[in-house]
Symmetry: C2
Subunit: 389 residues, 2 copies
């Protein structure tokens, strides 16, 4: 597929910036989600009225600066769901990036263009953001490695916030070695050689996915178990994945509304109806709702700490199904969106690092297996991804 046909990059002149002449990432090209500042280029945020409301940044985001210093070069800025509010990647303003692995399906979002560009082979890796699944879901749908790092581990300076207690910046890659190398540069530590010894299999999450997905992922789980060692079935969310989802939705929506209200009020921006509706309805959440959700977040964090001592990782399906078809209606997608969030919510809720491993197909479309570690074990997950590949 040609670059133009992919529609991964934002419209207008292509942002290209050469990295430092030498460094660990020299020779690698990366794309930058258009929520992340690149000095001298507008941060479009996937919405014409976001770009209009914000000055062109004069400094690179921390993560961009770091990658350029390590020798990687910017290949372009990539499309996103509007101001990161979306999980499917459909954007009528900048166009929906193609899912090269399944062109009749959505790419996943909100890091849609980043996933499209990497899966389409036009750059080596790409930066995304992940608040509620925005790196992991497009990685699953496009068949890529993708990481949501430990919350707070990578400096978020120069990136459009959504829900600060859940916001992270991550990346996607086709090649596990490249995927790990980027981590070494950003975390400032070598990818470890020692692997975990215990693999937990989240039976509630596998049971929540479509049976065809659980079946397609089974060989990947076996491969993972063969690398890691002991395998053990566990329940990830004793309170229920849907209860965790509600808590994450409440916290994330409330924070997003707080983040975007000054812009919404001042600029009355054009938005897709579904995006605007979700923001509007978030105004109905109460302090009591938020308190209940914050308490459930504590319980989820406790659960992850209990399950994931050093040397243990957990696996689950990244998404309960492969990418939905393009062009479905809001009501067709309402329940599928909620199901995706039931599996993706643990990232924002617990702040744990999570990596999508590609390799399975259902109806010819990719679907990924996620591995999750304790907070700060990001590099271990990258090592597992390399061993897995």
């Amino acid at each position: 597929m040609t670059e133009d046909a992919l529609n991964a990059f934002v419209p207008g002149p292509r942002c290209r910036i050469a990295g430092a002449p030498s460094g660990a990432l020299a020779g690698l090209d990366f794309a930058v989600k258009d929520l992340i500042d690149v000095a001298g280029w507008p941060t479009g945020g996937g919405n014409p009225d976001w770009e209009r409301a914000h000055p062109v940044p004069t400094r690179h985001a921390w993560v961009v600066e770091r990658l350029l210093s390590a020798g990687a070069s910017i290949a372009g800025k990539t499309g996103t769901d509007e101001v990161s509010l979306g999980i499917l990647g459909e954007n009528p303003f900048t166009g929906t990036p193609i899912n090269p692995a399944a062109p009749d399906r959505v790419p996943g979002g909100s890091s849609s263009g980043s996933a499209s560009a990497v899966a389409g082979g036009i750059c080596d890796f790409a930066l995304g953001t992940d608040t509620g699944g925005s790196v992991r879901v497009p990685a699953s749908f496009c068949g890529l490695f993708g990481i949501r790092p430990t919350h707070g581990r990578i400096d978020f300076t120069g990136i459009c916030a959504q829900a600060p207690t859940s916001d992270t910046v991550g990346w996607l890659a086709r090649d596990a070695a490249v995927f790990a190398k980027v981590g070494a540069a950003l975390f400032g530590e070598a990818t470890p050689t020692a692997l975990p010894q215990t693999l937990l299999v989240a039976t509630d999450a596998f049971g929540f996915a479509d049976p065809a997905v659980a079946d397609a992922l089974a060989p990947l789980v076996d491969r993972l178990a063969a690398i890691v060692g002991t395998r053990q079935d566990v329940t990830l969310a004793p309170q229920g994945l849907s209860v965790w989802k509600d808590a994450q939705r409440t916290l994330q929506s409330s924070e997003a509304l707080r983040t975007f209200t000054p812009w919404l009020d001042r600029f009355n921006p054009r938005m897709q109806y579904g995006v605007a509706r979700n923001l509007a309805l978030a105004s109905l959440l109460t302090d009591a709702d938020r308190t209940r959700a914050a308490l459930m977040r504590e319980e989820a964090r406790l659960r992850l700490r209990q399950l994931l001592p050093p040397g243990t990782i957990l696996c689950l399906p990244t998404t309960p199904f492969p990418a939905p078809m393009l062009g479905l209606s809001i009501s067709d997608l309402a329940f599928p969106r909620e199901r995706i969030t039931c599996l993706a919510c643990l990232g924002g809720l617990a702040g744990s690092p999570q990596v999508n491993l590609p390799g399975a197909l259902v109806d010819g479309a990719p679907v990924g297996l996620s591995i999750v570690g304790g907070r700060g074990t990001d590099s271990t997950l990258l090592a597992v991804a390399q061993a897995f590949a």
Copy 2:
């Protein structure tokens, strides 16, 4: 001001259709709000995803057909608030039409382009729709004659519906004789020569307007009283204008959401945040809310029947202030919008005909005086407007 600078017409090729060679309206040019079908031209509805979702009409709306048959010619299709949902006329998709009478202020809406084109002198009259004030408010803000006819009096076929129990099609004109002639053609009856004998002055509505507006309208009320005869102060809404407003808002929003839901669901259209938010929040209204509102509508209708026997008309300020400045924020405009609706709600609530009479200025910007008659007395109101001018 030049036609292009006015921004009254929708972008793209200009729709021009000559009327019948002879007829009562021969020689007059009119503009058509872009919610009203003109055969062979897209009905844009002020929203790019409305036009995309609907086929180009193959028949004229009833009202367009009638005007062309009477000899009037179409000068163009004019901008509107998105799918009629707005009262100020600001539209980022097609551009906000200029208010020629006060260029630093909004034109009023949703028949914004129609008001702009007529006030700018580039056509003789223009069609608009009025569900909750969409002809009367831009007429007040742009200094024009404007009529909301009796609900159901003029065939609505071929016009984008919003709230069917309140929707009407009306028109705006600079000249009272033209204004009345259009009515004669559409109502199929001559403008009467006999005028009403009693003028009721709605003291609650005058008290609700800005004091400067009440002062500026006082000479117009005197002029009207001199034409009509007996003058009598009355309370229009014993239950409160804000109670009437709530009832109209509940009924209109509920119907609008029902009207637009299939489109919203299927097309997930781009909309201004404020428009989308109002639709989303309408989903919270309950059947009990709607029943309460429908009962209040009955009481409002009863009140108007009691106040307006044959030979009596009522006057009130059309809007509580002249047009707001351009570019205010959603929160700046929240209370002003509600105040406008307190004065405009009686049209949709009672279904009575209402005409805006221009002639007053506040801070250099127009503000209009409304006259209201019993159902079916539209032509009498046109006769009063002619006598007034």
